[in-house]
């Protein structure tokens, strides 16, 4: 894995990137399906249209990341920090967003079908046009 290329469109399928410092990385349209990104630092990372199916992003720091149009279906985002992230039109169906920080995140038009949002902080999150059919909401949902 030492020679992996990290850049736009990279093939990082099932890559082990646990705890990696990837702040500001340009990973647009990258294939990160099944990747281990647990506790990775992805502050302001560019992940628009990235393929993150079933990726492990548990406790990852995605503050301000651009995930516009990304496929995060089945991804584990338990406790992830997505404060101010752009998740516009992202596919988050069946993802685990339990205890995630989504304060001020843009979830406009996102697909959140059957997602787990228990304990997620949705304060000031934009949810216009988001599909939340079957999503689990518990403590911490937006009180607007």
């Amino acid at each position: 894995m030492s020679s992996m290329r990290i850049g736009p469109g990279s093939d990082l399928f099932h890559a082990r990137l646990t705890g990696k410092e990837l702040n500001g990385a340009d990973l647009r349209k990258a294939n990160l399906a099944l990747a281990s990104l647990k506790e990775a630092k992805l502050v302001d990372a560019r992940l628009a249209e990235a393929f993150l199916f079933a990726a492990n992003l548990e406790s990852a720091d995605l503050t301000g990341a651009d995930l516009h149009g990304a496929d995060l279906s089945e991804a584990d985002l338990f406790g992830a920090n997505l404060r101010g992230a752009n998740l516009k039109e992202a596919d988050l169906r069946r993802s685990n967003l339990s205890l995630a920080n989504l304060r001020g995140a843009n979830l406009t038009g996102a697909n959140l079908r059957d997602a787990n949002l228990k304990g997620a902080d949705l304060t000031d999150a934009q949810l216009e046009g988001a599909d939340m059919t079957g999503a689990e909401l518990g403590d911490g949902e937006a009180d607007a």
């Binding site: 099944l34 199916f53 079933a54 496929d71 089945e74």
Partner: protein, 161 residues
Amino acid sequence: MARMSEQVRQLVGLENLLVKARRRFRECEREAAGAEHPRSEQYRAVIERISDQIHSADQGRLKEYLEYLERDLLPRMGTRVEETLDGMVESALEVVDGRHHVQELRHDYADALDRVRAVRERLGLDPFQPLDIRFGLGTHPPHADRRLREAFDLVKGYLRS
């Protein structure tokens, strides 16, 4: 509960991901309704790569995995197969609504049967035993049992019609 080695746990994890990827692939196909879905190819590639990883596992690992399947997973298979059957029931309901062609339902049904038969064959069991015996192997929850029966009744009804 059987004890699992880390390697076997990885294989089981991959199988679970395979089920999820197949489900997403089918969803893409349904969403595109005949047209090319932008994610279809990516999901097809994921399915192939996970399958390759499972198949490339060494014989020792596979043997341990199959033993685990037989001892622990197969008795609970009703729950696992239920996921596939959920898709079939969904398709059946779409047929009822006149939104889906019956051919796709036949395909889903055949796919589910093939997978169950393949597992049984690998375990040295008769792959063509009647379904009710095959799914009656263990103690899956009553809900799964009921759902299985409903699904098969529904699907068989359509296949006969």
